[in-house]
Every structure is written in structure tokens, then in C-alpha cells.
Symmetry: C2
Subunit: 431 residues, 2 copies
């Protein structure tokens, strides 16, 4: 078999036991670091590189590891990392036990990789006549703030009327099949999926490595339906930070939910007791939309047109009539169909979402145009009360629609966090 | 028109004159910085962000600008940056003057962008009723060691027997139509091209911005034929640096030509007087190959098989029987069909190439497999004496062939550097 020999119920001790004889010195340090991470302290670790003969192992770098265990999954309120690899999987088996076993193995591997460690025995240890447990391309790279966030799509609960895994009754009401919005031109090959994994890291090689190794562990149980690389973040969840620019050259989503604003997170992002299914308490609903930008058309429009579309200046990103990006906008002073006016919480009864979108460029289409745009990711407490009404309004009115098209769409229920070693992704749903 | 109003013969003074009234303070500093860059000193600059009202402008950051002017183009011997955006263009006009005009505009824009400045009047200056000269998504980002390297493909000199631009007689003999190699499975939509631009930078947004703005300037004269994003470098041109790992988890190309090894560069990389066409003296020939990796198959092979394929250890990357990556291999101790043995200069009469390849992942193919691999870039003094014999040998014998397939191919003549402001890309060819 080519899957790691991870224990069904991983624990820190079990992880340490998996480590090879040659890596003991490095891992003694890693144990300490892991303890700190579990306690909520970000620590910096580097993957043990066996070939370096003990000279690497754990070292302090400028790239911290994000704690894996907690009440909420990391990768949502976590300060947005620089790069993204996102994958949607289809489950290819009807065997519930096999799916559960994979989720346990995934959890163990995710705890290792987000901690800056290799999967299982690693890339160079274990028996030489067997495939290595880890594919190895992240050997020697720091943890790079990798987060892995899992979500479950509507089709995992029910597909073609079938209760595939005995969890239909646990489908949250908020996990709706998203409605058609005006202007949607969705490619089914880039939409949907039974399970998603969002991998974010400051180093793309670390994010790609993580998705690849999870796909490998899942071989025979899941297959990748679609995946998306994001090369540049477009959102900030850090208060007062400058919002990064999207490929239209603008800052957008200034009034994002801050990852440190506990009240806003509770009100708008985390599902609460009484919201619906108990297993989702502390979780969040993720909407992913692949938004192609008609870049060539946008680039031919005047600065005035561009600024009117957003309702803010291009240079600073200030709302019209204001000086700074974060100045409170005078919404009535903005064009009726401007993006800021339409999307602002004050125009939507206080509605807010947490955005974590990334710019993408995937080569060229058949007409010589860059296939580029925004891979929009939004987390919310209830999609029916957040993304759906907001997108209905935008799709019908936003001046931006002339320059964009939604070409992919997916919706996932992301459960609460794995609180301690031994628990696993989806335990409250399947356990 | 939506193209920048760049002067036909750009100069530092002309560039400074283009700067808006609102940016004068920042640009006074930029003039100094540019002078230092022209003198060969790497300087750190940040794009002027007009909206920041003079608070940004030029500042010292940790990301240096690579000098644009010099005897050789930057982006070849330059220490390899972290990210790549590569574009191949087709010329869509028969008008030689229009092509020359575009090359002049490109040169001006490239000098600005590699210097950490905006194209033309920038993203927020100039008349408000006209499209901005710069698309703006790199506003406020550092130069990020951006290099832009141009090359001319065989079809620019002659296509379907036609001397398109009166330069057929100047086609270098070394700029051959590459032969078919065993195992090639080339997608014509990802192969060839009249002109290429290699954009390398430590920040992908800066590389993507550069290609996009050149494509925009070229609208009506060229169109993008194909483009490729590379997320992680796989080669080093820095002596003694560890070679980064490819997506097979291995270090490869250890004995790369160093960017500081003047003799090796002269012997193996730079075209010399007497080599052929005078306009290529100081230039280099670039072969680009999109190499898909059968990752899922590779991941099922044993560690022993993987190490035998390369002839080196996976952990350290040491040749069999040696301790360190850079130890001299005992070639006879390696398997006959191992990649290191076949590709090593000592097995090829001292043949060497300068590699600058990058890992890519472009989503998923129709079978749920990651479309990932190596975008191989190699620079050499004469392709007929370097890539061609080497690839003939590898394609026929390399154990690696079981796990890879060449799916894209292109060949370009990259001229010498633009030596000073006022000169332009292709001047020796077209001038």
C-alpha cells in the first residue's frame, strides 16, 4: 500500500513513535515545539531533513507554525497567508468505514504537515522497498504558516436522492444548494465537490505538497475533482493592515471581519448552538467562487470609470470624498451601482462575511487572453443570510459585472476544530 | 489608445519627465536609485503609491532591484528568483515598424518595472478620462528582484517560407527547429511562439503584473500564445547553495552553471563573436520544455526505485556512495540508466547548460490527476551542442522517462543586454 501507516487515532505520542531512528535528535526538539503549538503559541519549526545529518531538525526561523488543534479550524480567522492551493474532492467509494479511516489518516497527516513535519515515516525513512510515506518536496522547508481547513459539500450528505453515508439527516439547513445568480456561467468541472481542503501557506511549495499528500493518502477513497492555485492574497483579516490589491489594481473588501474581533467572529462567522446541526457549532460555511476577470476590457476603461465602478480611489483605496482606505464611507455620495456602496454592511443591514480570496492566473484561454481573476473564498455563520442575499444584490446591480464572470462555485460546511490529538476531522459528523 | 505614451527612444530623463506632478518628491529619490542601478549596484525600491501622499515613494526594503542595463540580459546569470511567469507571444501584424515600435515601448516599460516603478504615467496619474498606463496591482510592492528576459523564436524569422519582417537572413544557425525526441507528446497550443518573455521575481504578483502590462502594450501587435506560471524554483545558479527540490522530492541539476563563474558562462552560456550572427554576441539560446510528471505513479514507487532512477539519495541528494549533494560522483558506481550518470558533464564531454526551471501545478486533468511537473528552462551558447545531444541521450535511455512526459516545447534566441537607456530590445536585430 502507498498510504502512510498512520494510527487510526493519532496522538502526539503516536506521531513521535513514528519518527525514524535517524531523526531522534531533531524530534526531541520537535516534541517541545509541538507542545508549545498545542498551547496556542506559534512556534517556528523546520522539517527534519534526514540527509543533513542532524544539522537541521528544529530551528527557529521567521516562518511560524500555526497551531492545528483548537476550538475552531485554523485557516479561517488566521491572518491570511500569501499563497493558496485549494482542492475539491469527490468520494469514489460507498464504504463509510473507508471514508472515516481516510479522515483519520488525513487528520494525522494534517497535524504533522501544519507542524512543519513530514507525513508518517517521511520521505527517506521507513523500508526502502516501499514507497516513502511523504513525497519529499517540502523537506527542509519551514512550516510557512501552513493551515489545512476541511469542509463537507452538499453531495456528501445526499446525491441523486441517495443517503450515501448515512449522514443525510445531519445535513445542516444552511448547507443549501446555492441558487443560480444572474450572470453565472458555471463550469461544472470547476464547481461542487464532496469534500474540500483549503491549504494556505506563505510558501506555495508547502501548500502544494500538503494537497498532494492528502490526495495520495485518499487514493481509492477520493479523487481530486478540481483544484485551484492562488498566487496572491487579496484580503486581510488583520486589523488596520492595508488591504492587498486584486488584479484590477484595487483594494476591495476593506471592512473585512478581523480575525481578532471575537464579537464579529461570533456574530458573523462561527456557527453557534441553536443555529442548526450541533456538529457544526464552532464551524463555518465556506462559499468558493472562481471569478474570471475580463482583464483586457477592464484595462481599456478609463481611470474615472474604474474608480466609479468601485466607488473608491485607485491609489489609496479611499471611498469617494475621503482620504484613507479605512475612512468611513459616505455611501450616499457613491454611485448607486458602485461596488463599495452595494456591498457595504450599512447597505445590507449589517451583513458581514469573512473573505480570504486569492488572485489566480491559469495561463491563457483559446483567444489569447489571460485566464485570470479572483478565487473568492468567504466564511460565514449562515450562507442563507450572508453570501446569498449579498450576491443576489451584487449580481443584479453591481457595475463591476461588466468586467467579471462567475465561472466556478462550491459550498462547504467546515466543522469546528480538532481540539486535541486523538480527535479527527468529521468526528462529530461521523462518530 | 490604451497603450502607454512611452517615447520611442526612452531614457532616464524621459522616464522622469513622464512622472506626474504629484509624484515629484518620490521620483527625485528614484532618479538617484536608478543611477545606482545603472552602475550595477542592486538597490531596493518600492513602487510609488500616489495615494499614500508622499509617504511611500522610494524606500529601502529587503527586496532589491536587479539592474536592467548591462552587457547581458538579466534573468539568466541572475540568482534564481522564487517565482516565474513565462509568456510566449505570436506577432499578429505584418508591419515591421509596428513591431519595432512595440519593442521600444516594451523596453521602456521593462526598465521601469524591473526598477520597481510603474509603466508610463502609472496607475493613478495621467488624464482621468483615459485608461491608466499601468494596471496597478503591483502598486506599493517592492521591485522583488524582477527580471524580464526577451527571446525571439524561429517563426519570427521565417514562417511558412515567408520572410515576415525582413530578418530571415539574420536567423542564427543555432536557432534550429528542435527535432522530435523519443517520448515527446507535444501540445502545439503550449509550444513555440514568435517572442518570449521570461518574468522572474520573488513575488508572483510582480511577475504576473509585468507580463500582463507587456501584453497590454502589445495589444494589436502581439497576442499571448501560451503562458506558464511557476510557483517554485528548482535550480540554483548560486555556488554552494542547496539545490531546491523538484516535485519528485529530489534535488536535480546540482552541477548547474554558476552565475558568478565567468569562465563557465563564457564557455557554455553566452554566444561569442564568431559563433554565428553578430547580433547574438553576448546573448544565449533558451530551450523551454513543459515536462509533466506522472506524480501518482512516481508516488507508488519504492524509495529504492526512486533513488536508483536519479542515482542519488533522496534525503541529502548525495550521489551513491558519497556523503553530500556536491560531492563528485563516481559515475561508474551509478546505475547505467540513472539520471545523474546520463546527464553529468563527465558523461557528455564536458557539456553544460544553465538551468532555471520551475515547478508548476495547473489544477487537475480530466482523470483527477494533478497537472503538475517541471517547466524546464535552459540557457546555452549553442543549442545544437548542448540541449539537443543531451536530450537525445536522456530521451533514449533515462530511467526517469517512465515517470515524465514532455508536453510543451519552445526555442528562443535571447539577444545581448540593453546596455544603456535609449537602446531597445532587438535593436541589433532590427536596427
Amino acid at each position: 500500500m502507498d498510504t502512510p501507516q498512520a494510527p487510526a487515532a493519532p496522538s502526539v505520542d503516536a506521531d513521535v513513535r513514528q519518527v525514524s531512528r535517524r531523526a531522534v535528535i531533531g524530534w526531541a526538539g520537535a516534541g517541545v515545539a509541538l507542545g508549545a503549538a498545542a498551547a496556542g503559541t506559534a512556534v517556528a519549526v523546520t522539517r527534519h531533513n534526514d540527509g543533513a545529518a542532524g544539522s537541521s531538525g528544529v530551528s527557529v526561523t521567521d516562518s511560524a507554525a500555526v497551531p492545528f488543534y483548537g476550538d475552531h479550524q485554523s485557516g479561517i480567522a488566521t491572518p491570511v497567508q500569501d499563497r493558496l492551493h485549494f482542492a475539491a474532492f469527490d468520494v469514489t467509494t460507498d464504504d463509510r468505514a473507508a471514508l472515516v479511516d481516510m479522515l483519520k489518516q488525513w487528520t494525522s497527516a494534517a497535524a504533522a504537515m501544519t507542524g512543519g513535519r513530514e507525513v508518517g515515516d517521511g520521505a527517506v525513512d521507513g523500508p526502502d522497498d516501499a514507497p516513502p510515506d511523504d513525497t519529499g518536496e517540502a523537506l527542509g522547508l519551514p512550516a510557512s504558516r501552513l493551515t489545512l481547513t476541511i469542509g463537507f459539500g452538499p453531495t456528501l450528505f445526499e446525491q441523486d436522492g441517495k443517503d450515501r453515508f448515512g449522514i443525510r439527516a445531519k445535513r445542516p439547513e444552511a448547507l443549501i444548494d446555492l441558487p443560480h445568480f444572474p450572470g453565472d456561467n458555471l463550469d461544472q468541472a470547476r464547481s461542487g465537490g464532496d469534500i474540500c481542503i483549503q491549504a494556505c501557506a506563505d510558501d506555495p511549495q508547502v501548500a502544494v505538497h500538503a494537497i498532494r499528500n492528502l490526495a495520495r493518502i485518499g487514493m481509492g477513497t477520493v479523487s481530486v475533482r478540481w483544484s485551484q492555485l492562488g498566487f496572491g492574497k487579496t484580503s486581510s483579516t488583520t486589523p488596520d493592515a492595508q488591504t492587498p490589491r486584486n488584479l484590477m489594481g484595487f483594494k476591495d473588501g476593506t471592512h473585512n471581519v478581523s480575525g481578532t474581533d471575537t464579537k464579529a467572529l461570533a456574530d458573523h462567522v462561527w456557527a453557534a448552538p441553536g443555529d442548526g446541526q450541533d456538529w457544526m457549532t464552532g464551524g463555518s460555511y465556506l462559499v468558493a467562487r472562481r471569478i474570471r476577470m475580463h482583464i483586457e476590457t477592464w484595462d481599456r476603461s478609463s481611470l474615472t470609470e474604474q474608480e466609479n465602478v468601485f466607488g473608491r480611489t485607485k491609489g489609496e483605496g479611499a471611498p469617494f470624498g475621503k482620504q484613507k482606505e479605512r475612512d468611513t464611507p459616505d455611501l450616499k455620495a457613491l454611485p448607486d451601482d458602485s461596488h463599495v456602496r452595494l456591498a457595504h454592511p450599512d447597505s445590507n443591514g449589517g451583513l458581514r462575511i469573512l473573505r480570504r480570496g486569492f488572485s489566480f492566473t491559469d495561463g491563457t484561454d483559446g483567444l489569447g487572453r489571460l485566464d485570470a481573476g479572483l478565487f473568492f473564498l468567504a466564511y460565514q455563520r449562515d450562507t442563507r443570510k450572508a453570501f446569498v442575499p449579498l450576491q443576489r444584490k451584487l449580481a443584479g446591480n453591481d457595475a463591476l459585472n461588466e468586467y467579471i464572470q462567475h465561472v466556478g462555485s462550491a459550498h462547504f460546511a467546515c466543522p469546528s476544530g480538532v481540539r486535541k490529538p486523538g480527535e479527527w476531522w468529521g468526528q462529530a459528523l461521523f462518530g
